[in-house]
Symmetry: C2
Subunit: 418 residues, 2 copies
């Protein structure tokens, strides 16, 4: 079989399996996930032995230490995969929900009912734990899933996939509800992305390069997670102690992730007090601060920020700092340079808080809280399948509900249209 | 300016305007729509004079009578556009809605709030009334809109667009919130479809050729409305009088539309009674019935149905008829040949009704009602911007709410992540 034929066969089998998965009871799906968790832990040795094959290959090809670390299936990570599956099993099932039905004048009853999307393709990079995490969320929401990890993790992903498939078979569920693409040929991805008749959604998880490649080559809808250039705006009426605490958390608690603050905007009325205070605290925490001209006037030897800094997702201990004239200038800055991910205002002023919530059109807008809360788990969605920075289907962190859609159900007693 | 530059300029202006539109009050948006309605009626002569230019051009190029009719702006159609705008003004505004907020253990409050999508591009064919209808829905839901109609209706669309724009200006709203593409160059569409940075959604309205062209050339998400091969399944325990009434309505009340029945499936237990009855009624109404072998055994001189008939969207007084062994065979038939649009079961059996609602994954599933109810207006969404036959973002008839998305709003009092 050619790669194209292999992908077609796999996608058709997934679609067939998805019909069965869509009608499973919540109890049956939970039983599946709990069994998967136990199976991963029971076969720890097998997983680590297969993972070692990937690690040996990676080492001999000279992979960097940080990448090697991400690839390694430690005992803790296997437990974390299993715990993740159990947590998803414990979440409420969105499938079947009808939030309300309405009666039309002719007596038909109409409602919108949540149903699974069908078949979801996940395309990801080195971490093998995504195989179990993504599978758990897709299966719990009644979908079939096709998993395509990085070639460097092929043996690990296949090992996890085969254990999870075994659980499907033992529970008399269709094996094709979960499939791992086992060829490392890059064409497999481009072929998958053409199968719009059989796959309903593609979720790429990885760097911006991967996401752009998938978005440009896919005929299937894609959830895009581009940059997280998150802003924090300290308003004139902010409590400076609270503002410092939130800024430090947003910048340094975990700087390498998409919901860390990248640019700090400070109202000019509070800048003379707050800018020296926050720059000192940031420097103490090892953060390099790059400031606008006005900020440079407030702090000696501040590194000048250039236009490019306002666009930057540093993912590091670097911060861009700008003093703004007022609320409108802060809003315009965010509109111009932002990435629609997460923005925070720190203020005690009711009107400013309300305006910020209303006028900023990013996927998550916050008052007086750290941008680091911008993830599915922290926001209360349970686990997270990804974050969408474009507006279609879902916007922001995505949980189980975001892996479903709604159909109309109509209950009549013989009505016809006149 | 090249076509590409023109489209870029237009899209950037639309995006800028969309930010203002997103924050308008419902009252301001309603005032705009009501003013637009009055303006169209006041400038009836101007509209018809411009429409005449299109009609003259179309006649001299030999356009068919049916197409000419669709292109004509009669008095009634101008009034219908105005009434449509007033009806949309009267609908509830989805923007700003937060259906609930939840409290996280750390005390932050989290909710999901409806916001406009941003900029919507509508690409449509000959009917100029779409210009006003689509504009009304997009503006009421707080979006900016770019309208690209068929070149045969260019003067009419420009006339409608200029009147509607004038209303924006008079109310001190951004003119670029509504723009009509005024070049008839076909490249304008392909250039628009590349502007994913500025346009959030494309809705094509027209034949399958237009929709496939747009879907294949767009980097922007597209709402696809492919075929409507709607099925009606008459179960063993159906009331045959009700079944006949619903079948006749679904087939003949307006056969040329996507929610008309195309294939009738009849359970074999009821077929000996119902098949002769419904074929006689259909024939009396001028419908050509094409039947499977079993149906041919029940009615003399029935035209044999071929495999191709099961895939057909006739949009005409033609019906495919199949006798099925049981519920499962009906379901399999719909899965194999259906288009995910609308399916109906006629039954008095509770279990069969429940199974049909649960197991059929089309965008609209009905019990004991005509498939002709499958449109936004009939289902109670108010007006309809289109019907989606794919599952992402929206599935089925789309109203105002489907032109919005949701962002997360988070209210804290200083929380940071530990």
């Amino acid at each position: 079989m050619t790669i194209a034929e292999q992908m077609q066969t796999l996608a058709v089998a997934a679609q067939q399996a998805s019909r069965r998965m869509a009608t499973l009871s919540t109890t049956a799906k939970n039983e599946l996930l709990v069994k998967m968790a136990a199976t991963l832990q029971e076969h720890r040795d097998f997983l680590q032995q297969e993972n070692n094959k990937d690690l040996q290959r990676a080492k001999s090809s000279g992979m960097a230490a940080a990448m090697l670390d991400r690839l390694t299936l430690t005992d803790d990570r296997i437990d974390a995969m299993a715990d993740g599956l159990r947590e998803v099993a414990a979440l409420p099932d969105p499938v079947g929900e009808v939030t309300g039905m309405w009666l039309r004048p002719n007596g038909i009853q109409v409602g919108r009912q949540r149903i699974p999307l069908g078949v979801i393709g996940i395309i990801y990079e080195s971490r093998p734990n995504v195989t179990a995490d993504a599978a758990g969320l897709c299966l719990k929401s009644g979908n079939a899933v096709i998993l395509r990890g990085g070639s460097e993790a092929l043996a690990s992903n296949q090992a996890i996939g085969s254990l999870l498939q075994q659980c499907l078979v033992e529970l008399d569920l269709p094996q094709a509800a979960l499939q791992v693409v086992t060829t490392s040929d890059r064409h497999a991805v481009t072929e998958l992305l053409k199968l719009e008749e059989h796959i309903d959604l593609i979720i790429p998880r990885g760097g911006e390069g991967l996401i752009r490649f998938v978005a440009e080559n896919s005929r299937i809808p894609v959830i895009k997670h581009y940059k997280g250039v998150c802003h924090l705006y300290v308003d004139a009426e902010a409590d400076t102690t609270m503002a410092e605490r939130i800024c430090m958390n947003a910048k340094v608690q975990r700087p390498g992730v998409c919901n860390a603050m990248e640019t700090l905007l400070v109202h000019r009325a509070i800048a003379p007090i707050f800018v020296p205070q926050i720059v000192a605290a940031m420097r103490q925490a090892g953060v390099e601060v790059r400031g606008c001209e006005a900020a440079q006037g407030l702090v000696a030897d501040l590194i000048p920020a250039t236009e490019a800094d306002w666009y930057e997702e540093y993912l590091d201990l670097t911060l861009a700092l700008r003093v703004v004239a007022d609320f409108d200038q802060a809003r315009e800055h965010i509109e111009t340079y932002g990435s629609l991910h997460t923005e925070v205002i720190v203020t005690n002023n009711y009107q400013c808080a309300q305006r910020f919530l209303r006028e900023i059109n990013s996927s998550v807008v916050m008052v007086n809280a750290s941008s680091r809360f911008s993830d599915g788990n922290q926001l209360g969605l349970g686990a997270e399948i990804g974050i969408s920075t474009t507006k279609l289907h879902s916007f922001g962190p995505m949980g189980l509900e975001d892996l479903t859609t709604r159909k109309f159900v109509v209950l009549g007693d013989g009505q016809v249209r006149s």
